[in-house]
């Protein structure tokens, strides 16, 4: 039996409680609305350019399903090819093991600082915390990750992790936390802020001896890894240091080099709404005289094999982390990434986190309920993950929230008899009558037990002044 995963994919607060806190931040909601609508509109325009988009999505899903069907075999093939190309391949069963492997590899170089390329896998395993505990300083080099790191915060979006900050807040973070920043030129103009980040990181890029990355794709046929990015910080980290350590989820595989074409078309259009991202780097082991000469790859399971064992749940492993589902989700748009309590927020996080950890971990059982089941995420997903189907699957197989279960039982009791139902409605109207005078919104934040389970995650409307039956009888 395959083990579950751990790390920064365990929510420690139930989603309704975390969401209630986030809903109280109007600035956050404003930022999120602007961001998600801008990206989703760009995505729609760029997807519309391709009249074969549906075929591309189907190809993406088909290739990934093929990978999942013969994952052990492809992992062996990848390992063999990467090793032949000069890489050292390691396997990690969980977050702890992966962190230990990376920490040991960095220690062996004698360095106490490592540069990092933005990577969901290293966030998932809480690598920065593990390195820091071992006396090694991880430096995030993606602008948004740098902002979040300097702020001592956590990312709130897969693609644009600092989307919850606006320019004035970022300027303040740089002014307070960026060593050696030139305050005389630091305005809140985005080019000035990007220039400050460039200066801050330039010397590090040119002198760093170790870098840690993830990978967007891994090619079994050639043993190649692929990193897709915009800023050039990825190229810097993947090219200039002597040692490169890449942490790669085992589901990142594609069988053949030519399969990359499908994903290089699906990913940028889905994630940033671009025809192609500015930079993509592909490397296979070691090239003498060009790039890192010590290349390590840590293949990460952390619950993925367990997800693969679930015939319904398996499709979540097709995910290429484009974040298109976040940008179309009415729930994410209002609560933001932090409410999900995992590095994977939004619709994909609501299924992937509880799948990877098992639903018993922390408050992850609440995540499949963080959805209206509207289905927009399925339409947006470039690899056709049926997220609504998986949400329902997880709701059916996982533990139920106690409050909602009690409310449903109470409602069932009342509705089972017409007489009970009529008298319940009558008492409800009487009880609510005074509220209609004082409560102009016509909505209730909290109902009394056992209906409190219902209002834990939504407001309830006030009952109308008369029932339909009464209105009919009065005619």
């Amino acid at each position: 039996m395959s083990g579950h995963g751990d790390g920064h994919i365990v929510a420690h607060r139930p989603f309704p409680a975390a969401a209630t806190v986030e809903l109280g931040k109007p600035q956050l909601r404003e930022n999120l609305r602007n961001a998600t609508h801008t990206i989703r509109d760009k995505r729609l325009r760029l997807v519309a350019e391709r009249d074969d988009w549906e075929e591309l999505r189907a190809s993406g899903a088909r290739i990934k399903d093929g990978v999942l069907a013969r994952l052990p075999e492809l992992l062996d093939q990848f390992t063999e090819a990467a090793t032949a190309a000069g890489a050292v391949v390691h396997r990690a069963a969980d977050a702890e093991q992966a962190c230990a492997i990376v920490t040991d590899l960095v220690r062996a170089t004698g360095e106490t600082e490592v540069l990092k390329v933005k990577s969901m896998a290293t966030q998932e395993i809480a690598l920065n915390e593990a390195l820091t505990a071992a006396g090694i300083e991880p430096v995030e080099t993606d602008l948004a990750e740098l902002i979040v790191q300097l702020a001592g915060d956590t990312p709130s979006h897969i693609l644009v992790p600092a989307i919850h900050y606006n320019r004035a807040q970022i300027r303040d973070i740089f002014a307070r936390q960026m060593p050696g920043v030139d305050l005389s030129t630091l305005t809140d103009d985005p080019p000035a802020l990007a220039e400050a980040a460039r200066r801050h990181l330039r010397q590090k890029f040119l002198t760093a001896r170790v870098a840690v990355s993830g990978a967007n794709f891994a090619v079994a046929e050639t043993g190649s890894l692929v990193v897709v990015e915009s800023e050039g910080n990825g190229r810097m980290c993947l090219t200039l240091p002597e040692t490169l350590i890449s942490v790669v989820g085992i589901e990142k595989l594609v069988p053949n080099f030519q399969d990359l074409a499908v994903f290089l078309e699906l990913l940028p259009r889905s994630s940033t709404g671009e025809r192609m991202n500015p930079y993509t780097t592909v490397w296979s082991g070691v090239t003498p005289g060009d790039g890192p000469q010590q290349v390590h790859i840590v293949l990460l399971d952390n619950g993925r094999s367990a997800v693969r064992d679930d015939p319904v749940g398996r499709q979540a492993l097709r995910c290429i982390r484009c974040s298109a589902c976040l940008n179309v989700c009415p729930v994410y748009e209002r609560v933001g990434g932090h409410a999900y309590g995992s590095v994977y927020p939004g619709p994909i996080g609501a299924i992937l986190s509880p799948q990877l950890t098992g639903q018993a971990a922390g408050a992850n059982r609440t995540l499949p309920y963080a959805s209206t089941l509207c289905g927009a995420c399925f339409d947006a997903c470039p690899v056709r993950i049926n997220i609504p189907e998986l949400l329902i699957h997880l709701r059916q197989t996982g533990p139920k929230p106690a409050g909602e279960r009690a409310a449903m039982r109470a409602a069932a009791q009342v509705m089972r008899s017409p007489r009970r139902y009529r008298s319940a409605l009558r008492s409800l109207r009487w009880a609510a009558a005074p509220l209609r005078w004082t409560n102009r919104r016509g909505r209730l934040r909290r109902l009394p037990w056992p209906l409190s389970g219902w209002t834990a995650s939504r407001d309830a409307p006030l009952p109308p002044g008369a029932s339909f039956r009464q209105w009919w009888a009065d005619r």
């Binding site: 190229r235 200039l240 192609m276 296979s284 090239t287």
Partner: protein, 206 residues
């Protein structure tokens, strides 16, 4: 331009998408359009006009670095100093990082539909640091290196195990309020020189 290679790529097995049936000229137009959309600058010349066209792009350059195997003929019209990166004596990073350094390379393949240039460390391209650290990358692309689509481009690469860099415009970020800012960590500027035969009226077309 050999039509069989650049223009009418066969239908795509991976996606089943229809043949990219654009003519060679239309593909060059599309590539130019996409590159400009990414705020790269694009120039055009014929083979004989390449040295003059390059000299024009490199005017006022304080220092030009090139891969060891860049054809000497390309830079005969450039009056300034040209430094070759040598395998036995590679240029140090601070030399590449110095202010005003420009790098001139060739390319392996270019993709019209996405405005992408692929470098594979093959002929005239050098090692990866060369096109990464200098602030300004000048890339020479021959018309017969242009293909329509991403799948066609990947099929064209002679060995996918070489280190590959796919470049679509200059370095950019949208991390601050989604406002695009160019020139974060990679080269701030990308200039592409398309070499087209037969000449369109000869000389440099801008």
């Amino acid at each position: 331009m050999s039509g069989a290679e650049g223009g009418g790529e066969a239908g795509d097995a991976a996606t089943g998408r229809p043949v990219a049936d654009a003519s060679a000229d239309e593909q060059l137009e599309l590539l130019t359009d996409r590159l400009v959309d990414y705020r790269a600058t694009v120039g055009r010349c014929d083979r004989a006009g390449l040295p003059d066209a390059l000299a024009a792009v490199l005017a006022e350059s304080t220092r030009v670095v090139v891969p060891a195997d860049l054809p000497a003929g390309w830079l005969t019209s450039h009056p300034g100093e040209v430094i070759r990166d040598q395998a036995e004596q590679p240029l140090a990073l601070p030399d590449l990082d110095a202010a005003g350094v420009r790098v001139v390379t060739g390319a392996a393949v270019a993709i019209a539909e996405t405005g992408t240039i692929i470098l594979d460390a093959g002929d005239h391209q050098g090692r990866r640091a060369l096109t990464l650290v200098p602030d300004h990358h000048v890339c020479v692309v021959f018309a017969d290196q242009v293909v329509g689509s991403v799948p066609a481009a990947l099929r064209r690469l002679p060995d996918p195990r070489r280190p590959l860099t796919l470049i679509s415009g200059p370095s950019a970020t949208s991390d601050i309020e989604l406002q695009r800012v160019e020139g974060v960590h990679g080269p701030r500027r990308l200039a592409v020189l398309l070499v087209v035969e037969p000449p369109e009226g000869g000389g440099v077309v801008r």
